[in-house]
């Protein structure tokens, strides 16, 4: 079951455990697999473990790419 949920770290308890939150749901998760995370970082959570830090720069770039696509559509419709 490779389900993963993006969550934001809201409290680092120690180098193993942290509290993460998404849409009002809080969970204690393990951060053993993602060293050097800090409060405010977004992580991908699988089976109670953060398995990777979500890269904010890459996430922003993806949105820019999508917006370009959307604008192209507007051009096609109006142009």
């Amino acid at each position: 079951m490779c389900l993963g949920i993006p969550m934001r770290l809201i409290n680092i308890e120690n180098n193993l455990m942290a509290t993460a939150e998404t849409m009002g749901v809080k969970r204690t998760i393990s951060i053993q697999l993602v060293p050097n995370v800090k409060v405010g970082d977004d992580v991908l959570v699988h089976a109670g473990f953060a398995i990777e830090k979500i890269d904010p720069a890459e996430a922003a770039e993806r949105i820019t790419l999508l917006k370009t696509l959307l604008e192209e559509r507007f051009d096609e419709q109006t142009g």
Binding site: H46, A47, G48, R62, L66, L69
Partner: protein, 369 residues
């Protein structure tokens, strides 16, 4: 024109714009080839996500999405299921498992039926909960059933290390952990018999392994793209794959770059290496024996290995000869081609695991198509 839109509708607009592009490119490629394109979604979570989001149907005219060997329960061999279920009969024993295993049929029973008969079976979200349960119930034998792929293996490794650190002598793991790349190699060992035009690669297995781990696929001449799981990510992955096909470029693309790195998560892999070694060969449903495709606990953690510590001498019956789960999870057939589908085999009375696993292709087809 007033373009003030809220976040949700902006997302919907983006998704729609992408969808149009996917369809347009899909149609163009299907016309060029004179047939539908066949794409394999390796990951079971993808099978369900594409079906549930409606994408599978919306692109169905031009693209055929086939499931691959990426639903961990579906690829678990019947014999492994039978051995796991037999543990539920042990005295003073609590079986802890992820919820998706509960209703999966073995040869003679399910964990749900064993529970109804009085066995203790508990569902958890994180394997660490099982360690906690064992620590608080020292007179109970707690066995965690670890079915999964590379995504799950680091969590299981961490769990074993925690049990060792807490010196628990009433906690075991039953590992049924498999590796995805060898399964893809096995699919391709006789060329490309299913005529695949592209692979959608599993986003979360890739998170651990890195997109580089799949570069061997290029040798087969088939392009592949790592995809994420939100609606936008599903479409981005599909679009990127169609672009590779259109450009006749054989490469492994990554459409999930905010999560998946080329080199993957080294910390996670180190933890896997600390606890597990790769078995010489592992038996898969539908694929048979695949060399170096499963994890087993290293000898130094043998005392936590339920496979070594409990004797599970069970009889495994032949699987129902009409059930084609094995073909479905290797992309050789779609669920609709199964004579049992939605007749004798339904989610309430499943014949094979593909109908009842939350990531199974037959279940996804039953619910969403």
């Amino acid at each position: 024109m007033n373009k003030q839109v809220d976040f949700q509708s902006r997302d919907d607009d983006l998704a729609q714009a992408l969808m149009e592009r996917v369809k347009r490119l899909g149609r163009q490629l299907a016309e060029e080839k004179g047939r539908k394109l066949i794409l394999m979604e390796v990951c079971g979570t993808h099978t369900v996500a594409y079906a549930r989001s409606g994408i599978t149907d919306l692109v169905g005219e031009y693209l055929e999405l086939r499931s691959g060997p990426g639903c961990p329960i579906c690829v678990t061999h019947q014999g492994d299921l039978d051995r796991v279920f037999s543990l539920a009969g042990l005295q003073d024993t609590l079986i802890v498992t992820f919820g998706d295993l509960l209703r999966v049929p073995g040869s003679f029973t399910t964990l749900e039926k064993e529970k109804a008969k009085g066995s203790r079976v508990q569902i958890c979200y994180s394997p660490l909960e099982a360690v906690e349960t064992a620590a608080q119930n020292r007179n109970t034998q707690v066995i965690f059933i670890a079915i999964g792929f590379e995504t799950t293996a680091p969590a299981i490794a961490s769990t074993i290390l925690q049990a060792a650190a807490r010196q628990l002598n009433n906690f075991w793991v039953y590992p049924v952990l498999k590796l995805v790349p060898p399964a893809i190699s096995a699919l391709l060992q006789n060329g490309n018999p299913t005529g695949l035009d592209g692979f959608l690669l599993p986003g979360h297995v890739s998170t651990v392994l890195g997109s580089n781990a799949f570069s061997f696929i290029a040798k087969s001449g088939i392009p592949a793209v790592v995809a994420g799981f939100e609606s936008i990510d599903l479409l981005l992955g599909l679009y990127a794959l169609l672009q590779l096909i259109a450009e006749k470029k054989v490469a492994v693309g990554n459409a999930y770059t905010h999560v998946v790195r080329k080199e993957g998560n080294k910390t996670a892999r180190k933890l896997i290496e600390r606890c597990f070694e790769v078995e010489a060969a592992t038996l898969w449903r539908g694929l048979g024996l695949i060399p170096e495709s499963g994890y087993t606990l290293k000898p130094r953690y043998a005392e936590y290995d339920a496979r070594r510590q409990f004797i599970t001498d069970v009889v495994t019956a032949e699987t129902d000869p009409l059930c084609i789960c094995g073909e479905v999870i290797t992309g050789r057939a779609t669920p609709h081609e199964c004579p049992l589908f939605s007749r004798r085999c339904t989610p309430t009375s499943p014949v094979g695991p593909c109908m009842v696993s939350p990531e199974g292709a037959c279940g996804a087809y039953y619910h969403y198509r």
